[in-house]
């Protein structure tokens, strides 16, 4: 179930520069990248792994996790509400399976962010800081990955999508290593609805089979020839990346972590036949295999219905139809299965799961009968790593426009809390010069 050696990007001079750069930027965190800092979990780490489920594109909070059935018609939307297993907590009827798992998570309803455009807010959501000239602050996953090092022979930070998350205009600048350098970028892995993992880094060398890769000299020779085929100078750390690719490919356990065919049909079905569903299952396998940080992206692009793009959460049109007919059925099944599966396997005690978008959507229904961007209030779900289930933290106001009870929680606090639970304490954060000014959301703990 792995794509290896099928990638074709050649020029008359050999492997093309684009292909080479894809390799150079897509296996940065495998074994050799940061072995020097690889260490057992610090005693204070409650989370052996982090699963950050990024609902990139921004679901409508009023139509999912924070319904307002008593709001005026211009706000409330057309969906009924259902009880969850948490007393007093109700979701819309679009999330019936997640409602049954609410005993596993704390619901947070008072997030705010400083940006209202997708790439900008995406950077804040993933790094805690706005874009700036020069390198941006690192993705939370890069911080955890830098501190913890790779999980065995697997990368320290994996991001599941068919490419760097982006909108139609550009990608999220804060998706990767930022000030911690590209060596701490995530390894990007796509996953089809049938569970076929697509590892771009392993698709560069035409004709190269896994058997040939086992022969280290073959791989080295291929990579050397690929490097010589470039028009520009070879990138730095070529040997390290070659080693990383080699180790990922040649270790059966590493390869098995990406192989969803090893799951039972019942488990595959539990997550649903969708890209997001199978990505969640792949995320669970990577956590099980010891990867410290996995970011599961709902889609690569946010666009809800644009020619040439997959269907994302950015529902400026058909908000209610797309939530009802496409996104919520997929999300509800997959994310509730992920939580239940982690709990069933005893993994939730040592795995922190955080699920959120980059902002919310306008409580007031737009003239187009939909909802636009809303940075002033949106929710998240936190589970595992000792976080109590069956709780609600904070409340939004009666129209879902602003936090009403509890303090506003920006992404910097989200990232700081994730880092703290993953063992990156304040001293280490200071050493790494990351998450400056952030504080832990102690209410969660």
């Amino acid at each position: 179930m792995l794509d290896v050696g099928s990638f074709r990007t050649k020029t008359c001079g050999g492997v093309g520069r684009r292909a080479f750069l894809r390799l150079a930027t897509s296996v940065p965190m495998a074994l050799g990248a940061s072995a020097a800092v690889a260490s057992a979990n610090p005693p204070t780490a409650r989370a052996r792994s982090v699963l950050f489920v990024f609902l990139w594109g921004a679901p409508s909070h009023l139509d999912t996790l924070d319904p307002k059935p008593d709001a005026p018609a211009e706000y409330r939307g057309p969906f009924g509400t259902i009880p969850t297993r948490t007393p007093g907590l109700r979701f819309t009827e679009l999330l019936p399976q997640l409602a049954q798992q609410s005993h596993l998570f704390t619901m947070v309803r008072t997030h705010v962010t400083s940006e209202s455009g997708h790439p900008e807010a995406g950077t804040v959501a993933l790094s805690g800081f706005s874009e700036r000239a020069g390198p941006v602050q690192p993705n939370f996953g890069a911080v955890v990955g830098k501190h913890r090092g790779p999980g065995g022979r697997l990368p320290a930070f994996v991001s599941l999508a068919n490419g760097v998350p982006a909108d139609a205009s550009r990608r999220i600048e804060g998706h990767g290593g930022g000030t911690l350098t590209a060596a701490n970028d995530p390894m990007m892995v796509g996953c089809s609805e049938t569970g076929k993992a697509n590892i771009a880094a392993l698709q560069l060398l035409p004709g190269l089979t896994p058997a040939q890769i086992v022969d280290r000299r073959t791989l080295s020779g291929r990579l050397d020839r690929a490097a010589r085929g470039l028009s520009g100078p070879a990138p730095e750390n070529w040997g390290r990346r070659e080693q990383a690719a080699h180790q990922l490919l040649t270790n059966p356990e590493s390869r098995a972590a990406f192989d969803l065919s090893r799951e039972t049909p019942a488990t595959r079905a539990r997550y649903g036949q969708s890209e997001f569903g199978q990505s969640c299952l792949l995320g669970r396998r990577l956590v099980e295999a010891g990867v410290p940080y996995v970011q599961v992206n709902y889609s690569q692009h946010v666009e809800a219905m644009n020619p040439g793009y997959e269907h994302g959460w950015d529902t400026h049109l058909y908000n209610f139809e797309l939530h009802q007919d496409l996104h919520c059925p997929v999300f509800d099944r997959a994310f509730s299965a992920l939580l239940a599966d982690l709990a069933d396997r005893g993994l939730l005690d040592t795995t922190l799961v955080v699920c959120m978008g980059e902002f919310g959507r306008t409580p007031r229904i737009s003239k187009g009968g939909a909802r636009d961007h809303w940075p002033n209030c949106y929710p998240s779900v936190w589970a595992g790593a000792g976080i109590a289930g069956g709780r609600v933290l904070g409340q939004s106001d009666r129209r879902g426009q602003e936090p009403a009870v509890g303090r506003p929680l920006p992404p910097l606090l989200v990232g700081t809390t994730i880092a703290e639970l993953a063992g990156v304490d304040a001293q280490r954060r200071a050493e790494l010069r990351v998450l400056d000014g952030g504080s832990v959301i102690h209410e969660l703990l």
Binding site: P69, A73, E74, G77, P78, F79, G80, I82, E93, P96, Q97, Q100, A168, E193, P265, A266, R268, A269, R270, Y271, G272, Q273, S274, E275, G277, S299, E303, A304, M305, N306, P307, G308, Y309, E310, H311, H316, L317, Y318, F320, E321, Q324, D325, P329, R333, I365, S366, K367, G368, G369, A370
Partner: protein
């Protein structure tokens, strides 16, 4: 449990199935990869599937047909969140359309009059979707509903005299019926959970629809006056998008089983 048989087996997501050609074929929406919605034609007898518009490069969805199948309407993606209602007379090859307004805008869920003379659709032009109709050339536009809440899924009765539709005007999506000119609105369902996608049976005596109940979407059938609502019971994880067979004794539905989505034909007596 109602009798049923499986019509497709690939497990990919499927939406909006509609019988054509006397029930010998089904036209539905499926995902041709993650980026393209494609109208697909299924031959019921042998299970063969083929693209309905092989040349289509942009997403198309929500097919609707006149009773004889001559006039077809569907949604076609034109640009970023911009969709047109395309109307085609499949015999005369006369295309027409309701073009999208500027910006993020577009209609949805077209319904074709039994005689092909008019096409219904829902579109939001000032906060909430309302039901409109145009003639088969895309002209003579008339607004049929008004007020608060979203109106959606308009569908003609077999005689063309009534329209059944969903609306959130009183809270969650419920079903309503009105005269073809928009008058005489009457409520058919009464919550508390949503009822959507209504369609008259070929004899006009019943309405099939999808209702959220017991944690999943299920297909229901009720009398045309809203009485006698009962579920169409299957062993699936969820059923949706009911479409009547011309014989009035079967429905095609999109069902989910073991996480996979396929079309099933379900008997309703």
């Amino acid at each position: 449990m109602n009798s049923f048989r499986r019509l497709t087996a690939d497990g990919t997501r499927k939406l909006t199935p509609r019988y054509i050609k006397g029930g010998r074929e089904v036209v539905y929406t499926t995902f041709a990869g993650p980026k393209l919605l494609r109208l697909t034609r299924l031959t019921v007898a042998d299970g063969a599937v083929a693209a309905f518009h092989p040349e289509a490069a942009k997403s198309e969805t929500e097919p609707a047909f006149s009773r004889d199948g001559r006039v077809m309407a569907f949604m076609q993606l034109r640009g970023a969140l911009s969709l047109a209602v395309v109307i085609r007379d499949l015999e005369r090859k006369e295309p027409a359309e309701v073009p999208p307004p500027g910006g993020f805008a577009g209609a949805c869920n077209p319904g074709v009059a039994p005689d092909g003379s008019r096409v219904l659709f829902a579109i939001a032009e000032n906060t909430h979707q309302k039901v409109f109709s145009v003639n088969a050339k895309g002209g003579d536009r008339k607004q049929l509903t008004d007020g608060v809440g979203a109106d959606n899924w308009p569908s003609y009765s077999p005689d063309g005299g009534r329209i059944v539709f969903g609306s959130s005007r009183l809270g969650v999506y419920d079903l309503f019926v009105m005269n073809a000119d928009g008058g005489g609105v009457r409520r058919l369902t009464h919550g508390p959970h949503r009822s959507v996608r209504p369609e008259f049976s070929p004899d006009g005596r019943r309405i099939a629809f999808a209702r959220f109940v017991g944690g999943a979407m299920r297909v229901w059938v009720m009398d045309a006056d809203g009485r006698g609502a009962r579920p169409v019971v299957t062993d699936s994880e969820g059923d949706d998008y009911p479409g009547w067979h011309p014989d009035g004794r079967r429905l095609v539905v999109a069902s989910q089983r073991a996480g996979q989505h396929d079309l099933y034909e379900v008997g309703v007596g």
